[in-house]
Symmetry: C2
Amino acid sequence: MTQSHGSAAPFAQPALHARRLGLHTQHQPVVVMRTDCHVCRAEGLSARSQVLVSAGGRQVQATLFQVEGGTMLGIDDAGLSETAWTALGVQEGEEVRVTHAPAIESLANVRRRIYGNRLDARALTDIVRDVTAGRYTDVHLAAFLTASAALPLDEAETADLTAAMVGVGDRLGWDAPIVVDKHCIGGLPGNRTTPIVVAIVAANGLLMPKTSSRAITSPAGTADTMETLAPVDLDVVALKRVVEVEGGCIAWGGAVHLSPADDIFVRVERELDVDTEGQLIASVLSKKISAGSTHVVIDIPVGSTAKVRSEEAADGLAARMRAVGSRFGLDVTCIRTDGSQPVGRGIGPALEALDVLAVLQNAPGAPEDLRRRAAMLAGAALEIGSKAERGTGAALALETLRNGRAWAKFAAICEAQGGLRTPPKAAMVHALVSPRAGRVVHINNRKLARLAKLAGAPDTKAAGIHMEIRLGDEIDRGQPYLHVHAETSGELAYALDYAGSAGDIIEVES
Amino acid sequence: MTQSHGSAAPFAQPALHARRLGLHTQHQPVVVMRTDCHVCRAEGLSARSQVLVSAGGRQVQATLFQVEGGTMLGIDDAGLSETAWTALGVQEGEEVRVTHAPAIESLANVRRRIYGNRLDARALTDIVRDVTAGRYTDVHLAAFLTASAALPLDEAETADLTAAMVGVGDRLGWDAPIVVDKHCIGGLPGNRTTPIVVAIVAANGLLMPKTSSRAITSPAGTADTMETLAPVDLDVVALKRVVEVEGGCIAWGGAVHLSPADDIFVRVERELDVDTEGQLIASVLSKKISAGSTHVVIDIPVGSTAKVRSEEAADGLAARMRAVGSRFGLDVTCIRTDGSQPVGRGIGPALEALDVLAVLQNAPGAPEDLRRRAAMLAGAALEIGSKAERGTGAALALETLRNGRAWAKFAAICEAQGGLRTPPKAAMVHALVSPRAGRVVHINNRKLARLAKLAGAPDTKAAGIHMEIRLGDEIDRGQPYLHVHAETSGELAYALDYAGSAGDIIEVES
């Protein structure tokens, strides 16, 4: 037994050698070491410990897995997953050090929040900083998000969370008095107005630097859809160049790092399939503020199976959006829209992109509901930017579509983002047919979204649903009411299993 | 494009070959496959998907990681972590199939609970069944536990959760009219009365089949401590044999599978460092009911830094424990005890075991507080079992210690469990000294627990703290008030970093 007094002597840890495992873990940094590795023994590290991996001044917190013997790793190797490898920027064999991850002080705030205490700006800032640094495990992230859903964030917390999320990201600045943005609250499959709105607004000379998210709980986010038409992984420099030349862009927000904390929250919200109002507002507004917007038009679809289910709920959400926005000098205009059925025909990235193209290109049979809705939202932006008199914005927007200027602008934006693409088509298409004749009286948006996701959307771009009917249509027995598009027989079978057991996706009254 | 109608054609998936990776992931089943594997492509599986791995009628749900190229795996190999390997019981190279994990219907209940809706018995049974089957990810588990903390489980939910947890585990039956058990609510470092209580009670002819947990948020659970004295991983058959011969045992509950769902919840509660009343009651009572107990004595330490902080809180907890217990015919006796400071001298598995041995062996300097507290709890059990008149149980318990019958019984139990062991000693011992002279007026149990954990307890058995003072003691400047015991310099440094930054662990008034 050794006995020491005073402070602990500094201890020199022998170095380990970085090994690239080529391991894909979807954003989870993982390090694999031998169970008999001297560092594991000296540090008392066991499997699934959170560890800090350091190399040349860079650090990443990772989950430790251990391997017993074998040839995968030497005794002094630290095998790194792709996420960890990229974060450290090391070379094969380079020296790395692995220690216990430091205690996460901000978790005390999460625990306080679980027990019903409100958090102040300082506490939320500390949480968001640790989340962005990758220090929170899935358990910690899920606890924070669940606590903010069980006892909803109040207005002050929502504003503080918004500010904290803005604080950890990059921020864009524009040399224009008005920078207008748009956003849709979601929950309505196929509601893919953004590419059309950006094209119309930019064609009329307003600045609209639009960043969009990938899907959270839906079969496609705007970034997923847009990616089938042009590259969306623009960094800040590329995004600024596109907007300076074309007046608008449709980029993926995650690549711009406007709200890196949000990208982490979104992954867990997707796994939970939970999307709460406070997080929603902070997520939307933090990105608009970071993008340098002065005004934002927000589409709130209302319907019994949409995300917002009543006009009262929509008005409450709008009021809270406006209140939080005003704290940051962001002018928020909310527009309630019909959320009773999908917009357009396609649900899923590529299928929605085809609808967008049809509207922009004035193709015969282009979905009229998508055209009208995009024109209404673009019209509001044109009026805000004084490009149209009050009450005439939608008409100007429709004219911009009709005369081809919106399509020309969209094609130019796609070229500036890296080149216009043709959306992929699925290998397999399967019809779901009506068991009876009659009139379509109800469409369940939630079941449609689930079905499209099981078919592979949004990860499989071509997967999803093509709707063959709308509310009020007459349908015959045996007539297809939708087609499921899938890339693989496994995914198709998975979706059809669900369709067979989910009850009515549409309701038909004879 | 192929067009199919009617139900999807059954699709034959090519088989994969099981490879044992020797990968330790602490209970998380992991399967590693090549990104270019045909099954990943056919099924549309991506990294971190939840998948179902099947072989010869057995199944396990696992997290998928993918590896790009390399020599670790062939293109048709499925590399399995130790947990997955054991669950499937396969041989090297044996055929396995990997598909999407089925949708988890019970998550809808979790989401409803997050949004403040109470759950009924059916909903909780479905959740517990899916949890026990390993279908919940860390995100799902954390969400359920957080939701049950944010809006605490009510009595009906607590009883239903208890019943659900009993339902998925094994259950013991005993051929005796009274089977008495004991439990401590915890939160008080070093409060290791259980081995002493079992020895006293069994020595007096009562049946006490004690199963204990490993630490949740503390530096040692009874199972961790007992393991330094004898094997505790007894299966149901071994446990029954020990109890039938000796009248008592001190076994690890997890190995007996009395409440497998609890073992899963406990791991996540530990990571969250959150331990809520409803979960606590369900956890404790489900194991007592499954163990076939008719009566249980519950020790509730009360103190400003213990888990229960006021007499009112203790009484409320006791009332809810009794109410839920009575629904299952379990008689619950709660005893409030002093929770203002640690019990005994040691904190950490081996250091607490040394205190237990000292009391049982009547060693000079054996901690008197531990002796008295164990005798009080054992006395209550002896009175319940009619081995002592009301008010004379504690005296009988002390006499059973004094005359050596408790020690003889304890040694016999240890031998029956697989052999009495000597607790290990730590390689490094470091003194923390008082910065001033005076009287010890406060001891922070929470900081002590944190310090002991950072030193390596409970995973490192010899690690922890040896207390050198008690409340009211006089201490000199520079005199050690505790010693930190650690096995590695890394862990010692980690603990001392904390001690240097945590503020007062003890308060001394001059």
